[in-house]
């Protein structure tokens, strides 16, 4: 098992290295002339050359990449073109706020979708199963800003149950802050519900059809015990992996939801940086998202290995 985990960490690091090269390429090679982008179309070419020199952009690409990545590894994420201040002073608070919103979404979606998927599996082929599958799948295909708008119109404006922005007034209690985060979290919940419920459903069906579940039923255990002790323990294991891979969708959704609800998280930071062509900020933001995703999938793989006795005991033989 240790060997597998080491290999898995190594692969994640390799992926991260490649990802940083892709981001460097998109952020610093493709755009061509950042000096021109900063100074605008009317600046003199000497001024543009001077600013490109001061940013180190006239050096060989490999040296530029090395300079950028070694800075990142030492915690120096570069200087924002737009704010003339270190990127990290904006990035980390934004990341923290996004994690808060994502946490609210996860706390809502994980129990809901697992219960939904298990219920669908338990009355397989019935009306409940079909409606959970079709509604879940349809909702998961609608872009977050579309469902977000419907939610704002219904719950924010018509019924006035919930505030339509995500940021609570400064100094609000955690409970008030939570109230402001519920409406923005729901579009994310709707996207994720269909996928997680589908996995929980198929995992449960597979476990229900297994020999050990039949043995448990035939030896006279009540159905509730069979489901709780034999079926669920096995069916929910693959669901963990799916939940982790869904963090990618979740972060993609944050970009949209934070823009719609005017919430200063990592998503809106990236959109603002892109609009202003603030490439150091954009690169750092995208890299941060990649790191979060890789850590989440790595954690899921480790958890899966630790929880699954077949994998856990393999190395011990």
């Amino acid at each position: 098992m240790t060997g597998y985990l080491l290999r898995r960490v190594g692969l994640a690091l390799l992926t991260l290295l490649l990802l940083s090269i892709i981001i460097f390429f998109a952020g610093q090679v493709l755009p061509g002339d950042p000096g021109r982008a900063i100074l605008g179309p009317f600046a003199s070419s000497q001024a543009v050359a001077a600013i490109n020199h001061s940013l180190g952009l006239d050096r060989p690409l490999l040296a530029q990449y090395w300079n950028w990545i070694s800075g990142v590894l030492h915690g120096d994420l570069g200087t924002s073109y737009q704010f003339h201040a270190p990127v990290s002073t904006f990035l980390f608070p934004a990341l923290g706020r996004s994690l808060k919103l994502a946490a609210v979404a996860f706390v809502l979606v994980v129990p809901l979708s697992i219960v939904g998927g298990v219920l669908a599996a338990l009355n397989r082929g019935g009306l409940g199963d079909r409606s959970i599958s079709v509604v879940g799948l349809s909702l998961s295909t609608v872009p977050e800003f579309v469902s977000g708008i419907v939610l704002i119109v219904v719950f924010g404006i018509s019924l006035k149950w919930l505030p339509v922005t995500a940021s609570a007034p400064a100094g609000s209690s955690p409970l008030i802050q939570l109230k402001y985060l519920i409406l923005p979290a729901i579009p994310l919940v709707l996207i994720l519900f269909g996928y997680i419920a589908r996995m929980a459903r198929s995992g449960t069906i597979e476990a229900l059809d297994s020999d050990y579940a039949r043995t448990a039923t035939l030896k006279g255990l009540p159905r509730s015990v069979v489901i709780r002790r034999h079926v669920l323990r096995n069916s929910l294991l693959p669901t963990i992996t799916v939940i982790a891979t869904q963090t990618g969708y979740l972060i993609g959704g944050l970009v949209v939801v934070e823009t719609l609800f005017n919430y200063p998280g990592i998503g809106r930071l990236i959109v603002t940086a892109a609009t202003d062509k603030d490439f150091p900020m954009l690169e750092a933001g995208v890299l941060a998202i990649g790191v979060v995703y890789l850590v989440a999938t790595l954690a899921a793989d480790v958890l899966y290995t630790v929880l699954n006795p077949r994998l856990r005991l393999q190395g011990a033989e």
Partner: protein
């Protein structure tokens, strides 16, 4: 089919109606049935396809999805001619007018008729999304065939690049490259196409891995067929089902992605009528009570993506059993 000398078990052809069409063969002879193998295989493949099409046309989810999609395709083709107003030029006397008999969906902040813009807004997204998906499917299929068939070093190298590319949400990757290259329609198609190619390559690779060890591939190798010929003439027809499913699923996701990018200001540019862009331009007026400017384009997007996904779902149910 061509040069396909798989040995069919005797009598397998007899089950097929095509046998009667094979000349100079006494019916019922086991020998002859084996000889009719290739023709019979082609006949049964055609019959399976006809059966699958029939199954699809009987599926209610497919019919609902196809009808909604056809409606939006009709709007994309002729939306401007059957809408009552010009979708680009408004009249200032009408700005923020609520829905009425003259303007069923009201007018937006520039006095443009919302219904006309919703109808005309189907066009660009229904051009860009299929082109991007087609590009992604083509490149992804080639990548998947190569990595799945050759495996080894090529597979590991491309596999790592695919992993890295997929460590970011599609919207973010597309976003990064569109910002770097400038938001033109061509960039939109190429960037979304290439990100999808990574995803599709994975699916195709998995399908190819299941095929490459089967007898017909071994036979082709023994006949000394080239790698390209084995991949494209032998394996490709057998993994066509998953590729078609992948295409329909990705088409829905392409519409999702383009609408999202337009909403963020990096997709289809104003003043072109576009649902995502129109929502971006009007959602801040929601609190002022002008809900119609935002809600109708939102419902249009929702109906289109749900329709495409209903189609994708029924295609998957029929093709992959």
């Amino acid at each position: 089919m061509d040069g396909d000398d798989r040995e069919l078990p005797a009598g397998s052809g007899a089950a097929d109606g095509v046998l009667a069409a094979t000349p100079a063969v006494p019916a019922g002879s086991g020998q002859a049935a084996a000889g009719a193998g290739p023709a019979a295989a082609a006949g049964s493949a055609r019959r399976v396809r006809r059966e699958q099409t029939g199954q699809l046309l009987r599926s209610p989810t497919f019919i609902v999805g196809a009808l909604i999609l056809l409606w939006w395709v009709a709007c994309a083709v002729g939306g401007r001619s059957f809408s009552a107003y010009n979708p680009v030029n408004g009249s200032l006397a009408q700005f923020n007018a609520p829905p009425s008999a003259a303007h069923w969906f009201g007018a937006d902040s520039l006095g443009r008729d919302v219904l006309s813009r919703v109808l005309a807004g189907a066009r660009d997204i229904l051009i860009i999304a299929p082109l991007a998906t087609l590009l992604g499917t083509t490149v992804g299929t080639v990548l998947g065939l190569i990595t799945g068939y050759y495996r080894g070093a090529v597979d590991s190298v491309i596999g790592r690049i695919v992993d890295a590319g997929l460590a970011l949400p599609v919207v973010i990757t597309a976003f990064l490259f569109i910002v770097a290259l400038g938001p033109t329609t061509l960039t939109l198609i190429v960037v979304i196409g290439f990100v999808f190619a990574l995803l599709i390559a994975r699916t195709v690779r998995t399908a190819v891995l299941q095929e490459r060890d089967l007898d017909y591939v071994a036979a082709a190798r023994l006949r000394d067929e080239s790698g390209a010929r084995i991949m494209f003439a032998e394996i490709l027809p057998n993994v066509f089902g998953p590729i078609l499913v992948e295409f329909t699923v990705r088409l829905g996701y392409a519409i999702f992605t383009i609408a999202t990018l337009s909403f963020l200001g990096f997709g289809i540019r104003p003043p072109t009528p576009d649902w995502g862009g129109d929502i971006a331009g009007s959602y801040q007026y929601l609190a002022a009570g002008y809900w119609w400017e935002t809600l109708f384009p939102a419902l249009a997007i929702a109906s289109l993506v749900v329709a495409v996904n209903l189609i994708a779902d029924s295609v998957e149910a029929v093709l992959i059993q």
